[in-house]
Symmetry: D2
Amino acid sequence: MSSAATSATVELTGHLMDTGILARVLDDVLEYGGDYRIESIDIGREHQDESTARVEVRADDHDLLERIVMRLQVHGANAVDPGTATVRPAPSDGVFPEDFYSTTNLDTFVRLEREWIPVDRAEMDCGLVVTEQGGRPLVRNVPVSDVKAGDSVVCGAHGVRVEMTPSVVRGEEEDFGFMSSAVSSEKPQALLVHQIAERMREVKAAGQKVLWVGGPAVVHTGASPAMVRLVRAGYVDILFAGNALATHDIESALFGTSLGVDLSKGSGVPHGHEHHIRAINTIRAAGSIAAAVEKGVLTGGVMHAMVEAGKPFVLVGSVRDDGPLPDVYTDVIEGQRAMRAELPGVGFCIMVATMLHSIATGNILPASIPLVCVDINPATVTKLADRGSAQAMGIVTDIGLFLEQLARELAPEG
Amino acid sequence: MSSAATSATVELTGHLMDTGILARVLDDVLEYGGDYRIESIDIGREHQDESTARVEVRADDHDLLERIVMRLQVHGANAVDPGTATVRPAPSDGVFPEDFYSTTNLDTFVRLEREWIPVDRAEMDCGLVVTEQGGRPLVRNVPVSDVKAGDSVVCGAHGVRVEMTPSVVRGEEEDFGFMSSAVSSEKPQALLVHQIAERMREVKAAGQKVLWVGGPAVVHTGASPAMVRLVRAGYVDILFAGNALATHDIESALFGTSLGVDLSKGSGVPHGHEHHIRAINTIRAAGSIAAAVEKGVLTGGVMHAMVEAGKPFVLVGSVRDDGPLPDVYTDVIEGQRAMRAELPGVGFCIMVATMLHSIATGNILPASIPLVCVDINPATVTKLADRGSAQAMGIVTDIGLFLEQLARELAPEG
Amino acid sequence: MSSAATSATVELTGHLMDTGILARVLDDVLEYGGDYRIESIDIGREHQDESTARVEVRADDHDLLERIVMRLQVHGANAVDPGTATVRPAPSDGVFPEDFYSTTNLDTFVRLEREWIPVDRAEMDCGLVVTEQGGRPLVRNVPVSDVKAGDSVVCGAHGVRVEMTPSVVRGEEEDFGFMSSAVSSEKPQALLVHQIAERMREVKAAGQKVLWVGGPAVVHTGASPAMVRLVRAGYVDILFAGNALATHDIESALFGTSLGVDLSKGSGVPHGHEHHIRAINTIRAAGSIAAAVEKGVLTGGVMHAMVEAGKPFVLVGSVRDDGPLPDVYTDVIEGQRAMRAELPGVGFCIMVATMLHSIATGNILPASIPLVCVDINPATVTKLADRGSAQAMGIVTDIGLFLEQLARELAPEG
Amino acid sequence: MSSAATSATVELTGHLMDTGILARVLDDVLEYGGDYRIESIDIGREHQDESTARVEVRADDHDLLERIVMRLQVHGANAVDPGTATVRPAPSDGVFPEDFYSTTNLDTFVRLEREWIPVDRAEMDCGLVVTEQGGRPLVRNVPVSDVKAGDSVVCGAHGVRVEMTPSVVRGEEEDFGFMSSAVSSEKPQALLVHQIAERMREVKAAGQKVLWVGGPAVVHTGASPAMVRLVRAGYVDILFAGNALATHDIESALFGTSLGVDLSKGSGVPHGHEHHIRAINTIRAAGSIAAAVEKGVLTGGVMHAMVEAGKPFVLVGSVRDDGPLPDVYTDVIEGQRAMRAELPGVGFCIMVATMLHSIATGNILPASIPLVCVDINPATVTKLADRGSAQAMGIVTDIGLFLEQLARELAPEG
């Protein structure tokens, strides 16, 4: 079980002891059916020091070994002797070679000959396609639906290396990563809001964008006015959402008070209220949300504020949608492409009250972008972290009061 | 199945159509194995009018009929021909006669001869004991554990009548009873806090007391400073809690910053942290919470504020308690008695973040006292209403932000 | 406020008292800003009798009145004097006239001249389009995305009538509608499974189809073998699902034991396990799930069993999907069309462990088809009922044990 | 910050890398305000080998250092140079000396002079009292409420050592500890039931007892008949519960079919049903549950089966109780004593559907007793583990189907 052909040594560096990353690496080896021997641990003696561990991974056959080594990269563990990448052509459109390298959401580098070439962007569960630009090799991260027959795809784990960015290194164990240092024992929820506000100010000061992902509860909990203030104050650079948030926002703007009682109950608006389908029809008649704003049909709410502020939004539909609004991508793969196109420049991502679109965004987001997920349901936060967005920091709280507090910090009313 | 001996006619009045009370009455008849015939409905034509319905209830035998008629009183339905009460002696201490009348939490009246005598207080699942005072009959509501052998106990449903107070009449269907009229479509959570604040001001202005029931999450969510401000501003007249709230509050006051990180995680404090058991030991050494305040051992937190403000608290233990604190009633029946003793004069009850003590308080509270239950877990609110506290209004929100907002309304910082 | 132009009388029949439907009708009138007067109630005296109520609805203006009357049809309330339908042309593709009649999920009839014409199918939140076939008028239920410019669309509430089917009439109040009669006090969960099995046998005996809607938890809870037995025994005529159920099922069939530990934890499989993306790639390479079965690539699991049994499935994608599998509709509107196309002949629908696809199916399902929703999360069941699928019966239980028990009833192992 | 007076070296042995224990130890040092330096790690190279780590812990003052070293014992970390124990008299009844050693739930040893003396039993958050028996020192684990003035209490962390038993060593990271080896990818829920059944058979074969802790949902989910079969087959040696389980069980036995519909709804029985208070009164009249069985008043249900089988039960009340039953301890501290008295001989503990009594039992249970917690609510399981019962294995499933399956395994019906 330990012939040269079936073992490889990986190395990982960081706060291995107090983050539990090493435990996870070892767990994964066993879970995948391999075995390990810890070759060495160079301990960070003081608590702020980093450690480095070398682990020999063994497997019954070559394929399994490759899969394990690939898997360990999710935790930032790289092969000590990475070799050079193997490249094979995609057999047909939308299909990778069988042993394609499946990406993580970490910064990734590929060695084709001698040099390490950085991959253009980080997204998990994609493939790496090698092309040329101006005589120099270029490596692109490509989802399976976008690969073309004949594309040169990196296969196996050789010649691929990942790098953990600082924000991720400790994030795996702590819910509030960047915030943890300044936390006092008093009013933590209010303090958390304050810290998020601080972080947003920093991100904006650095010329980066704040990406919001939102669900319809933003409207149902009565947080629309707070959200509108945040949009106007410039803290919502991009909005990802589904048909529901936009529809209920517009419905609320068009049919206003009639839904008052439902909002007050804190429960979702019953489907049977056909107002939402009339709201959709009204916007369809206008042609688009922007057109409805221009024509004076839509005069309030979050979507109106986004249009007025000239900020982009990407609405991607789902199978439970009515209508949908004309701005909604009904093809989810096209929707994903539109979302990806908005990521460059994003320095912070905040997800409020949506599981579907939060996971969808988590899927395409590099691990280097700090991410806060706010929901009254702890399951949403947990699910996000389970699916690979290790940098996610979760806050379980009331959306309405949270956005109200955040707006008070960032966009105090005149 | 419809002989005279086995049927009775009950009458109920109120907003029968739009509250669903009639539906519930009819359901209960069937569920208990009886049958019904609606004799008449005098409809409140306009939506603000009350209706009156008369329903003939039938059962196979007399005992079942009695049980059904008693049961329907929970919904405010009284027999048309109530007769006079039957009274039988309690067979021994702590035991009612077999067919004792089991109380509701509504205002109740007993007819012994001709006159209707009001029962001294309303509490559900108790018995009615008839005594005399100054030559006049007196009817007391007595829990089974307090009845003495030979006490005259009302038996069967004859001669007992209940009355719904206005706050209950509509409460059964609507989560926010008294608040519903003024609700607008904007920021309902913030508005709810505002309305609760308003109600508390009214209750205080009327010379009544505000009763709080709280769980340890008040401390864990960092809401202690807000709670302290509310105590100082006079909005916490009585506090019902368990060992946990007081212990964690005192632990936080004594060991302060050390738990900062835990508080910041929004999660409960792990049991293994032995700080809480040291906090308990410290107070045990002082003799009581009040003694610890007096001696300067305890200088901050909610319990300290209660002692300083001279406001009473009742701490009742549970089987999972460590210690407990010397102030805690370890006998739960004695604890219930202590809680009951604080109820006179209460005009409003607010329950935050505790299922056990909320249900315990709901059990002894008359239905006429308005009741708001605030918890991030919807199950707590639902369970409270299921158990008979029909007047409960539930708010599912974050305790930390909620108390912060409430303190901002009622006790703005200088 | 009561001029002839602004009032209308509606009538509703059924178990008005004990189902709470009348209360809901009256609530809705007030919630929409109208007012009411109960003209008469003809009471079903015995508890099994139906009642009939006539309610005069009043509104400040004609448009509001129309909206209220339309709204009340959700509860089966029809105008006493329905008049004849108004028809207006659709202004452009995908847009209804502004005052279009928005459908319920009840059996619906339209009166164009004298006769009542049944609508071809029931689906909520759609429009009614009038066409001709062989010289006779035909009324079709059309979603907004499918309407064409110039189509004749029914507008306003005049000339439209709905009918409640028996399964719905009582379903609104009771979780287990059809099952309630035979329920005993012993082992209700086991009994519920038995009753669902009985119902499935009846539906099959009547030549109708059983529609399943499933989420990936079917695989994660280890229920695949039970589900396969149900497919083989003929109790799964159609399957609606997303990319996730099919992918994890195929992944489990292709990579088998490797995920054993995760399955055993009862938790979802972490996203980072790239097995699922390899499984997707394998099926993409084969061309389709059926092709993978034919080529011997896929030899086990639920999807394999469906292909072998020649039973149709509709997989509709969502924005969080990886891949997806080649069989998945990436356009959600096309996916909805494909789902609708499978509905004829369905006599029973069971939803297990999926919120997204359950709500999507609830949206297009007529209220006359009995519907059971099984989930360990109570919120899924509640949300489904909130959105208008009043006939939904919810069972909160463990999916793995539930399907195991159901398979034991319907497909005992040789 | 590193003078000799304020540092101590601790050692821990086990699967440090893959269980995350080391990470937790280091976290706790920082959280308590100390600092650390890893002196050495002797790595278990192969994955089945144990590792040993030595960590120097530093603190600003002696008291903090003591507290940290004590805290680390929760994870099985002992001081390398433990010294001998300091003993001080308890200042008064029910009060420990200020710096008393607060226990963990691990096997504990105290060195008074040279020898290590084993503590009589393990229970967390208690104190250690030194006495003599036959000229030999004896160390007893004593809860704060039971200590007497003048008792010799171990103070500080010197001279105290803990030992992790094998079942705990790996339990901290894995939900199903002892079960994990045999888990296959198929039907995990059914398999888990099978494994629990196996473990119960082993425990019984070894002459040990099976302790059950149950909540009223055992009755509400219709699992009573299954539970009765388990009692009769000898797999319920002791039952810990509250007033509710026993009351609803007895109510169901006395009033049988009347609650059928409620049971069928899967929801809890509404409080207003006064049947439970009548059931309580009936048992109070009989004198006790056993007396009611003897007199033929109580003829069925779980409590009846326990009495008939001659098996002990401990019912401890809570503040929300009605009545309570005469067998219920109303003083929770006495209830805890009664529970403790039943622990000797217990080899396995299973908790079903109760948070309050599960945590109470977890508080007094040694970590060496394997513990399974079954609940449909994930929060119960999580909370138990959070509070220090590291050996708890959680199963989130339906109680009714679970007990049915378990009874099928262990007590197949003739």
